[in-house]
Subunit: 281 residues, 2 copies
């Protein structure tokens, strides 16, 4: 870090010649999908607990009066996410199809060491994503439920925290493409008929398991209790099994339940249906 | 997000005229310091659990052969942190003295909504920080203990995760400045004598409470068990009190103990001593 400044661009000019072609075996299965979704719950709960460390910090989300109606009609938080995402795009984050940027745009070069990602998705359906909806729900509905009123001036740290929440939610919800791919491969005949008939309702029904969804919602609520408690070196630990009203959590566990119940699970299934509708294109 | 691209620069040009001058009351006390340090433990444990999601991903840390000895002698991860930190610098993150960049450099404008941060630190000593040491320990000692061998190609996501770990560790360790300030204010006469005599050993002794450090180390180990366990919707929850060998954690709790024992606590105290040595400048 004491070296003179080098840029990711300089890095590319030299590195591009030294491709590292590593191959990852495709291992898409019901197990890998389930493991991913379960592990991503922890990431989502951690990220929203961290966001709740800051108050709402409204100035980060307001479009300055001078911008209103102009073509620069964007909040500080949006500009922050755009700039941060541009760095990550340049660094190759979105070479992995599991991740989808909120602001896709051309970057001349990818500046990371090369890696040959396998593509588990059906190419014509891989584009499906609900990032616009995720963005809107996060800023317009979820954030005011999560963050306490107040302003501590930490706008950049707050926006960085928002960016992490958005990335975690986006990765989970848009992972519906992988869920759908696995389910399609497990029962191609049945799905093919419904897809040919564009029967969204029947697809949704086939993709829905209320008992499994119930397990997920109860589990994320419990994770919010376990990860959001105040751990002491001696005292008792919240197991997520009690309804103790004296327990204090960094994020209201019922809000995490609601997040999954109202948004994460329905949007994931919407991704699954939309992916399947393009699965035979 | 459907608006045409605007940049943080455009944002500044207009916003700079609309300063929001909000004042935060100085509330530095032993309680606020203790609360901060305890809460930051969770952030550190979350961030290293998240880093452990990825394998080591060595290509992100190797200096390409063509770079060796040149003035661009930097790894992908370093370039990634530089670029990400530049965005956060531009966005004003380091206006808050609690945060210190790893690569400070001139940015022409701060592009966040304005906020009048109070300065709880003694100005001539506020510069003290151990970011170079933190950087070196993280990449050269800690990372290989934390991450499993392997390469999944997610270099940008991995480097983003490293950046979060570094920021959390830096904020915690350099918070030693605040710890020292509070302790100085609580006993100015005693500290003044030792500072005038440049008596580092006596200062270190005065700042050290082995019993308190022991509580902290046991608590972070317990946090690693509680936050790093696999939570199910029904099963038992790891309370961090057992030595159950069948429990599996996302990060080895003894590594988190070691992180605090060998690095975080000693470096924080080093920051405290160095701050105090400049407290009368």
């Amino acid at each position: 870090m004491l070296m003179p400044m080098a840029s990711l661009y300089t890095y590319l000019l030299i590195c591009n010649a030294t491709l590292l072609l590593l191959h990852r075996c495709s291992g898409l299965s019901l197990d890998t999908v389930r493991d991913f979704l379960t592990r991503e719950e922890d990431t989502i709960v951690f990220s929203i607990i961290e966001r709740a460390k800051y108050p709402l910090n409204l100035p980060a989300y307001e479009v300055p009066a001078y911008f209103a109606g102009s073509r620069h009609d964007a909040s500080f938080a949006e500009l922050f996410v755009r700039d941060s995402e541009a760095v990550q795009t340049k660094a190759g984050r979105y070479q992995n199809q599991e991740e989808i940027p909120f602001f896709p745009f051309r970057v001349p070069f990818i500046l990371s060491p090369s890696y040959n990602f396998t593509s588990d998705l059906y190419p014509a359906a891989a584009f499906v994503n609900l990032n616009d909806e995720i963005w809107s729900i996060y800023f317009n509905q979820f954030l005011s439920l999560l963050a306490k009123n107040g302003d501590d001036g930490n706008y950049a740290a707050t926006a960085a925290s928002d960016f992490l929440c958005l990335q975690a939610l986006s990765k989970r919800i848009n992972y519906g493409r992988y869920v759908a791919e696995v389910k399609f491969r497990g029962d191609p005949q049945n799905y093919t008929t419904l897809i040919r008939n564009k029967d969204k309702d029947a697809l949704m029904k086939l993709l829905t398991s209320e008992s499994q969804e119930d397990v997920v919602k109860r589990r994320v609520q419990k994770k919010a209790m376990v990860f959001g408690q105040n751990v002491t070196s001696n005292g008792p630990v919240e197991t997520g099994d009690s309804n103790s009203s004296q327990a204090s959590f960094k994020v209201d566990p019922s809000l995490v339940y609601k997040l999954y119940d109202q948004w994460v699970i329905p949007l994931t299934k919407q991704v699954e249906v939309e992916y399947l509708l393009h699965r035979l294109d």
